[in-house]
Amino acid sequence: MKREGFLQTFEEMGGTVLANACGPCIGQWKRADAVKGRVDSIVSSFNRNFPGRNDGMNETMSFLTSPEIVTAYAFAGDLTFDPVHGTLKTAEGKELKFQPPQGDELPAKGFARGEEGYVAPAENGDAIVVEIPPGSDRLQLLQPFPRWDGKDFIKLPLLIKTKGKTTTDHISPAGPWLRYRGHLDKISDNMFLGATNALYPETGKGTDVLTGEAGLPIAQIARRYKAQNIGSAVVGDENYGEGSSREHAAMSPRFLGVKVVLTRSFARIHETNLKKQGILALTFADPKDYDKIEQQDRVSVPGLSALAPDKPVRVVVHKADGSEITIQANHSMTEQQIGWFKAGSALNALS
């Protein structure tokens, strides 16, 4: 493009050329003139325009169209300009009607190509050490999750009972947490921060049932249980885990000791992600049983060594008054996926 002078043309009209990267298209844009709360319009040739996508401002009205139309809009500065039918006033007071855009599909002279910026891997990588600085808050080597110890889950405390829409972004919020996406321990502090707890009025918070202390972030409660080597259970509503395939939404619960997630139904990808991380993903055979679960309940899943495809699982709920109720639950694990559960994760099963 430099050869053709394209970029120079854009600079002549007052444009700024950015790095060969995603930049504003994924919100990596420090827009200098943006004012929080002010509604204004921008136009681009990008592919996404969700609120906040480009400049981080939820108010900004982002329109998408072709690059040639965007360029015409840049001259007009006005969303009501129609370059196909309308005209623009020039400095001499004349009317400019744009001719339809023309351009070659490919450069006639071919590309002046190179492999600039490419680094080939080592022939033999054995001696190479993967660089993770000690004490880094952005990267952390993963330790394999422990294998299933062969024991049934007995009287697990209830970590959270989510209510309504529980997307992966509610389970593992993005935003400032994305900085820590390479550091499982650190990012796990965001666990369930966006989720509605049916058993506590504040989003992302719940009750430590061992101490009775309420109003704590869910991750903090999970860390307390984990420190005492106590696993926990999560109960969820319909279509639990919809949204992006973000694996942190399954890895953080696993890392912080969640053993079983029992829901009215799962979003497919998240259900698989839970299985891959070695968490038992169950659904209520009767969705109404969801309503029976209370904060002080303890959850047992007996008979785990007899897990088999298409065979329902029995969940015993121990009530605070000493009574017990038995709930039928289903799983969708194949023979191979039961192997993942027993190995502790899909990756463990591989090595």
Binding site: M1, A21, F75, F98
Partner: protein
């Protein structure tokens, strides 16, 4: 870099395709030809659209720098010495636009040094190609270097389907999927349903490939493609450049589609030739039958697709979509009245071109043609105008 992969694939495809035609008792779409040729085990696989889980063996894995972190950490957990599948890492997501190319790049390298060092060193160790910050946007680099007709690639980014412009199935996945495939596991995905998009006519005037997908966004909505693959066909398909096809398949992600694909044609040959891959172009031409749908699919598409959409490119108007969602679409001729009616602020605070979906030579050339007309008339941009080129290769053309 993909000649060997293409050679091996085209060798094994005829058997898989013949087997599938027999098992299904009918002709095959292009999507099906690629799926059956990448099956982990064809015989035990259940082939039921919308129901069965497919276990597939992708040809390649591509990762961007944000999602690559967890993908690599998970891969390393498996304790393998080398990746099982050719893979690349592309540093494009962590660069924040602020003042311009050079300064933004230096700041990104400073802010993200430890992440880049980790990705570079792990790539070196495990046999992964590494594209440094500033080398380009993942989907452009993949299209220019790695994509080939008939291939199956997974990428840790939702706009991976950009590769469909070169006739391959390119699917966006999470980091865990990438980590597992690199470690040697098959990749699992719900057997998608198929939407056939029949294109007739030829784009003209202001209409561009972007308008094909913007129009479809309005028609099918952001949920219309969920668990579906869009397969384009018909005489109009061949009239669109390979990079234009890439724009369309890239934004298929906005429909929620698993991916989108165009059949192999002469426009792809031209693109492969100009990106120094005449060898792959020639090989693909010799295997054209494998890289396009069977004739019966074109004759009676209703027998082979779950849904069919028809678009006449000759009458397609330029479209504008938004705000806030890509399925709020209208032709540009209706924009002014709608803006007034709905009270959208009409003053534009910024205009931006480029990005992975629209930074091809053709896109930038057409935009520059408009820019030159304005400059000649003595006009300057009235609003901040930002340009994001797609790759280092495209800026040094």
């Amino acid at each position: 870099m993909s000649m060997e992969l293409a050679t091996n694939l085209y060798k094994r495809m005829p058997e898989a395709v013949a087997k599938a035609r027999k098992k299904f008792g009918r002709a095959l779409t292009l999507t099906e030809k690629i799926l059956v040729s990448h099956a982990d085990t064809f015989d035990t696989q259940v082939w039921e659209r919308g129901k069965a889980m497919l276990a597939l063996r992708p040809d390649r894995v591509a990762m961007q720098d944000a999602t690559a972190q967890m993908a690599m950490l998970q891969f390393m957990q498996a304790g393998k010495k080398q990746v099982a599948v050719p893979s690349t890492i592309h540093c494009d997501h962590l660069i924040r636009a602020q003042t311009g190319a050079e300064k933004d790049l230096l700041r990104a390298i400073d802010e993200n040094q430890e992440v880049y060092n980790f990705l570079a060193s792990s790539a070196q160790k495990y046999g992964i190609g590494f594209w440094k910050p500033g080398a380009g946007i993942i989907h452009q680099v993949v299209l220019e270097n790695y994509a080939f007709p008939g291939g199956l690639i997974i990428g840790t980014d939702s706009h991976t389907p950009n590769g469909g412009g070169l006739g391959m199935l390119a699917v966006g996945v999470g980091g865990a999927d990438a980590g597992e495939v690199m470690a040697g596991l098959p990749w699992e995905v719900l057997h998608p349903k198929l939407i056939g998009v029949r294109l007739t006519g030829k784009l003209n005037g202001w209409a561009s490939s972007k308008d094909v997908i913007l129009y479809l966004c309005g028609l099918l909505t952001v949920k219309g493609g969920t668990n579906k693959i869009l397969e384009y066909f018909g005489p109009g398909a061949e009239a669109i450049s390979a990079t234009g096809k890439g724009t369309i398949t890239n934004m298929g992600a906005e429909l929620g589609a698993t991916t989108s694909i165009f059949p192999f044609d002469r426009k792809m040959v031209a693109y492969l030739n100009v990106t120094d891959r005449a060898d792959i172009a020639k090989l693909a031409e010799a295997n054209r039958e494998l890289l396009t749908a069977d004739p019966d699919v074109l004759r009676s598409p209703e027998k082979h697709f779950d849904e069919i959409v028809e678009i006449d490119l000759s009458t397609l108007e330029p479209h504008v979509v938004g705000p806030h969602t890509p399925d709020l679409a209208r032709p540009i001729s209706k924009m002014a009245s709608e803006a007034k009616e709905k009270g959208y602020p009409v003053e534009l605070k910024a205009a931006l071109i480029g990005s992975c979906t629209n930074s091809s030579y053709e896109d930038i050339g057409r935009a520059a043609h408009i820019a030159r007309q304005g400059l000649k008339a003595g006009l300057k941009a009235k609003t901040p105008f930002l340009v994001t080129p797609g790759s280092e290769g495209s800026t040094t053309r």
